[in-house]
Symmetry: C2
């Protein structure tokens, strides 16, 4: 008697519909324009209904964050083909920055927003995809370190250095701080400064061996 299953399926379908619409709104109007009431209006349910499927707005944002990680993962797929770990790190950095400036709302959600993290407090150690990306970077750093015989370097610290650099760059760019420091670097468009700084960071981090 597939009744319970059907019920379950229907519940999941509405859950997915809510997330889908939320995604559409974020893409169309930006993250800060997303509201429970707007989702409700678009799926033609009352706002209260959404609370039968999600604990609160934070949980929706948390789910959106997960979707963002999926997006990022697919945008980085072709990098894995690169065999040289050093070059791979460079490509990861470039792709990371690219994703960050081209998907500002997702990026904000994934790496800057605190409200979806409030939700994590409850279901501890659930920032899975985020950790996965970082751990991938760590192991790539390990490979690169042994390839370049830079035994003095700690892979974890190196990974964090890289992450901080690109994260810092993306944040500064997205919040218009680079525009101010360097007028040539306008929001949205490809910015030399970003690439140049990343390149320099790579060079110095690998002790000018690259």
């Amino acid at each position: 008697m597939g009744l319970a299953e059907r019920k379950e399926r229907e519940k999941n379908e509405l859950r997915e519909l809510i997330l889908m619409k939320a995604r559409e709104i974020i893409i169309r109007e930006g993250q800060n324009k997303l509201s429970i009431r707007k989702i409700a209006a678009e799926i033609e349910y009352s706002p209260a209904t959404i609370y039968l499927y999600f604990q609160d707005k934070d949980e929706i944002l948390y789910q959106m964050m997960q979707k963002g990680f999926e997006l990022m993962a697919t945008s980085m797929e072709d990098i894995y083909h690169e065999s040289s770990p050093t070059k791979r790190i460079f490509l990861i950095g470039k792709a990371y920055i690219r994703f960050g400036v081209e998907n500002q709302d997702w990026y904000e959600l994934m790496f800057n927003a605190v409200s979806p993290m409030n939700h994590i407090e409850r279901c501890k150690s659930e920032w899975g995809p985020g950790i996965a990306i970082f751990e991938y970077l760590v192991s790539t750093c390990s490979e690169a370190i042994s390839e370049n015989k830079l035994t003095t370097l700690d892979a974890r610290i190196l990974a964090l250095q890289l992450w901080s650099t690109v994260h810092g760059l993306v944040c500064l760019a997205n919040t218009l701080r680079l525009t101010i420091v360097d007028a040539n670097c306008e929001q949205g468009k490809e910015c030399d400064l970003l690439d140049k700084t990343l390149e320099n960071s790579m060079l110095s981090l690998f002790n000018y061996i690259v």
Copy 2:
């Protein structure tokens, strides 16, 4: 006839009172709890009155940002005594991170918030104190480069590398991303990872000469 002056003074006094209360609220309850109505209640005026002294909330946030820069500047005062530019850069980095994690709300306003920047759009090139700090870093980098005879380095790029790294670290720490990646690094308290990464960055950025 000091009437116009008195009027002007009174107007400025209320302006300052508004900013003072806003500051108190931010310190007491955090930036996202700051509201026009709360300020109004605390200064015992109606919310509408505030709009006679400030265009909108963004302008208040912008003014708060300026206060934040003053705060940061005073917290960095003793660094100027250091004569070695290389050491000075390191001290700036440490002080920057320290300020960032200890004054999260100010930091958010100064280096991450977009809404006060909306206000900048109107009164272009007004992120003065922010630029000042960056330019100070650039010139310190220049000194350090010539001191260490690293003529291949561009002072501006180097400054941006440094800024990105510390900014990235502060952001990751403040938004709980470091907590997740490294369980030993809890919010608020001094975190080894921050210092270690900064140290490593300094080492690599200066080509292991330091």
